[in-house]
Structure formats: C-alpha cells, structure tokens
Symmetry: C2
Subunit: 371 residues, 2 copies
Amino acid sequence: MAGPGDTCRLRLVKLRRALLRRGLDGLLVTGYGNRRYLSGYTAADMGFAESAGFLFIPTRGTPFLLTDSRYQTQAAAEAPGFEVVLYRKGLVPLLRSLFADLGVRGFGFESAYISHALAMRIIDACAVDGIRARGVSRLVERQRQVKDDDETDAIRRSVLLNEEVFNEFIPRLVPGMSEREAALVIETLMREKGASGPCFPTIVAAGENGARPHAEPSARKIKKGEPVVIDMGLVLDGYCSDMTRTVVLGKVDKKTREHIRLVRRAQQAAIAAVRAGTSARVVDRAARTIIREAGHGDNFGHATGHGVGLEVHEAPALGSRSYLRLRKNMVVTVEPGVYLPGIAGVRLENMVVVGEKGCEVLNRDTTFLDL
Amino acid sequence: MAGPGDTCRLRLVKLRRALLRRGLDGLLVTGYGNRRYLSGYTAADMGFAESAGFLFIPTRGTPFLLTDSRYQTQAAAEAPGFEVVLYRKGLVPLLRSLFADLGVRGFGFESAYISHALAMRIIDACAVDGIRARGVSRLVERQRQVKDDDETDAIRRSVLLNEEVFNEFIPRLVPGMSEREAALVIETLMREKGASGPCFPTIVAAGENGARPHAEPSARKIKKGEPVVIDMGLVLDGYCSDMTRTVVLGKVDKKTREHIRLVRRAQQAAIAAVRAGTSARVVDRAARTIIREAGHGDNFGHATGHGVGLEVHEAPALGSRSYLRLRKNMVVTVEPGVYLPGIAGVRLENMVVVGEKGCEVLNRDTTFLDL
C-alpha cells in the first residue's frame, strides 16, 4: 500500500526533474502548502515572520527539513523520508554549512513565499561562498494544481463535512441573529465536527453588506426577506473546502429571486464549460457573458473561480486573463456573483473536479440554488 | 477629544522624522500591524500572498492607502486621513504613477513584510523611472514598542477578557476531556464574549505534551494529577492578550508542585527586574539564573518574553541576546518555562507594563500560580 512516504517520493521525483531542467542543484521550499505537499510535515507558520520550517530538496540524495527545536518531534514523525536538521544559530549559517557538505553551486528559492529581508540575507551569504541563489516561482504550485486521487478524496470529505455544517446551521439561522453570531455558530460547528477549523474567516453578509464580496461579519442583525451571503470553508485532514450560498429568511421577493436565478444561470454555464483542455478564461467568460447580458457586467468584479487543495486559494485562477488550459483532476471553485452596492449581493459557489469530458460537482447541497 | 485620526497623525509625524533622517521621500508600509497602527485600517491580509492593502507615507502631504475594490468602503471609513486609491491593474503600475505625481526619488519598503518576488518587481519597475527603492527594517515596529495610553487601556481590556474566558473555562475542564475539546471550549468562549477570536492557536498540552512549548492540541485525553499547560490569547478591538497557566486536575503531587514553584519563582524574579532603563537581557537572565541553578538550564529553551500589542509577537524580545533597554509603557510578557521531555512541562505567563520604577502586572488571575 502507498503510504504518505511513497506519495511524497513521487512528488519529489517530478520536482527534481523540473530543477534539473533549470540547471539548479536544489530548491529551498518556504511556502506552507508546498512544504506540506512535498514532505507531509503539517506544521503551520505563524504569520509572515515565524516559519515552522524549510525544506531543502537537493536534486539527488536525502531531502532535508530544517526547523527549530520546538518542532523537532513533529517533523521527524511526519516527514519520515527527510533528514530533520535544527537551526540553532538561525537558518542562514545552517544553509551555508549544508550547501558546503552537498557541493551545491546554485539553487532556487520560492520568491513568493519568502520575505525580501530573508531572501537578501541568504543571497548575500551564499554569494560569499560562490553559490548562486535564484528566486523561482510556481515550481511546486504547478504540480499541486493536478490532484492525486488521495487528494481528491480528502477534498471531497472536506466539502461534505462543510455541507454537513451548513445544513445544521441553517435551521438555527433566525431573524434578529447578527452576522457575527451566525459566523460563530458555523465555525463552532466546524470544530465540533472534527475540522481543524475554518480555512478562511467565515463570511455572513446580509442585505447591503452582501454587496461587499469580502465583508467581515458585523453586529448587523439579519432580517426577513433579504439575501444573506454565506461563504464558508473548513480544513479537514489538511484539505480545504469552499462553498457559498445566498439564502433568504421568509418570503423571497421577485427581485431577489431574479437576482439569485441570474447568478445560478451564470454558475451553471461556467460549470458546463469546465473540461480538460479548455482554457480557464473560457470558463470565466461563460459566467461573465450571462451576467453582462443581463446588464450587470459592472457588478461582477472578481474572477469566476480558483483552485483549492492544501490551501483555499491555489492555482489555477479562473479569471478573464487566465490562459492556462484546465487539466484532468484539477479542483476549482465556480463562484460568480452579482453585487449591487448599497442594496444586496448574491454569490453561489460550488467546487468541481475537472474531467476529460466535463466535471464532477463535489457539492450535494442545493439550498436556494434552484429557486 | 483625540479621535483615532489624531492618534495616527502623531504617529505619522514621528515616522516622517525618521524617514527624513534616512534621506527617504516616503515609506511603503506592507505589514498588517504597521499598516493598522499608522492608518486605523483594520483589514487583515489573507496569508502571504493576498494583501488587504498598502500604505504609502510620503514625508509631506496626504498619506495614501492603496487597496482593491473589495476593501474600498472599509478603507475610506477607517482611515479618514488617508487618500484611498484602488489598484485596478496591480500595485506596481499604481506606485509608478503615484511616485511620478509626487516626485518621489527614493523611498523605503518594509523588507521583512514583503515577499522577495513583489519587492523585486517594485525595485525593477522603479529603477526604470530612476527611483531608488530600499528595504528598511523596524522603522514602525520601533515606534510601536512604546504604547500610547489608549493602547495600554485596550491591552488591559484584552487581558481581562482573556482571564474571564479562562475562569469560565476552568470549571468545565474535567478528566477525560481531550486537549482539542478543551481548546475549542476556550476559543468558543472568546468569541461569545466579544473577542474577534484567538490571536494564536490556543495551546492545551497535557502531561508529556506540555514538554513541547508549541504543542498543538491533540485527541489525547487529560488525566488527573498531570500538569496541563494552557496558553491562550485573544484579540479585542485589535489588541492582543497572551497568558499561560499550568493547572492540575485533582491532587498535585510533590514533584509537580516543585516544578510549578520553580517556574513561578523564575517568573517573579523576572517581573521584579522589569523597569525602564533595564536591558531586556537582564530580565531574561533573572528568570534563567533561577532555572539554571535548580539544574534545569537545558530545559528552558525559549526567550523569557516578548512585546504584545496589535500583534501577539512584537518587539521587544526579552531574550539572552536582547541588548535593548526597556522603556516606559512597553508591554511585554514574562513567561519562563521548564520542559522535561517525555514527562511534562510547566510555563507561566503574565503580561506587564514597564514603568519608571518597576512594572504593572496586567493579570489578576492567580490560578495555580502560588501553590
């Protein structure tokens, strides 16, 4: 049976091929998602400045997990194929001695996941030893776009648990509850049901607040008859889910019904466009055209979707300028929205797995989707 | 009365003086805490890659808050002294046109709070226009070390709410509860009582798990008689609190009592050493000496404390190599610990405000502190 060690080994083989093609002797991995994907090590970083560790993947031989004493036990347990090395005097001196041992002449670092300050310290220190450090981008992210079967299964479980939370939450949602209270109920249910937690701050945005795509839940009380945007996602076994529903308490008036139906039509058109070989922007356009033709071209400012996996926002983006071709087993959201400033917003979001001839919609829930 | 606008204006005056001394025409502010401190804008970033906005503080004239359309309303409402500008085509083109309008020749960016990738794009684009972009560090952080009275009040409220949560939690802590369940109860109470949430993942670490200073709560059930390290903090009105208690359910055996007493003695010695003018390392040494003399020098690996404010880990650090002199109205934790691998850990943490002749301990709770 393939344990996580084997999974990581295959991923490392692919990465090493990409490194060799670029003439690099190794890659310093600094991003949480990439680190976890390649090693199995699950620790999260604390903010920008406090890393839970770094990987160094030489093109041959044992890969390294560099961390500090707080994480030693966890690192050794979770990343069996890696040699765990502690930086007692900081990362930079450790890298220098490691590179000397390995004979590294030039290596890449993840330019998007390292601070300018740390990158410059590494570059300068390595230059002293005649080693070239070069910023690279998307080497591991590109690999992560296409999910293994184990990953798709984990994402599916995450989606279904998220829906379970949503379905327990809905009967508790009553007029007079504040957005903040509602978000708290949702996040508490997530944790009670075994999720590590939400993978982004839950959005509950009623009436005019729903017109802000990234509204923070406020003390505003939810009223009957107004659309309430609920955007929620959780982490289960490391994998994220992401779903948006727009619900109405009590009677749905004609205007709101049309608003929701328009977004749903846009969503269904985009879902129908998803298949391997299609350009990501074609999926975006499918949704956008319907919204524009309904006269709301200016009320849909964000992209139609994004990849989901170990992180809630991953490649690929499904935007109007995304030329990437979709590939089998990419997992993406499809989430058009129509936002009427000062009035209300509607967004509907499902997750799909890209297939050869179409896609599999991971969501089962249909609350307020098909009015 | 001094509104937040006035507070920010004073902070900007100080910052501008520092910029002029360095020959810079402005500062690009990228860190969440620094951004909020200078502008009042409360939005948080999503991970490493997704910023909620940037400030550009020219040495004279109106400061700017650069963000995207999702945050426009919030930015305008929260940062009244700032001109909110949206980047429709990305940050870099906006900066170029802004710098051209303002006649900027050279400016600083926060090297520790920007990715290497984005910094390089800014540096390269500015070079084309003959503008010098230079990484700077700790300009705003240094200012933030010393708290205004309003800030100290906000931190005090955060500490007291955190203790209220702790005191409601303790009667619910029973043998057989898992670490994870306990952490969930704590974090739910935080939110129910009006906190924005925890300011770091709550630690509940029983028995041998307590020997790992940054243990993640696990499914392990808490047993009678073993020390349980509870490290918790919340955000209230933007300000953080941070407290650790080590509690025992049922009878406390002699060994554990001595273990707790040793850490408490070390903590009290450190607290007694805190006053304006004292070097941070002297405070650290006060705790460390007591632990070393008890034969546990190797069992206390981390620093004795750190600053707390808008972020839970701020300057100054109270470590063995922290030469900084404490100043009046700095707010720091005092949190020595003794960790016995495979057996148990004890850490005790209070927060104090540095005064002229000593310090004010912000905590009121004494659970298991004075056995």
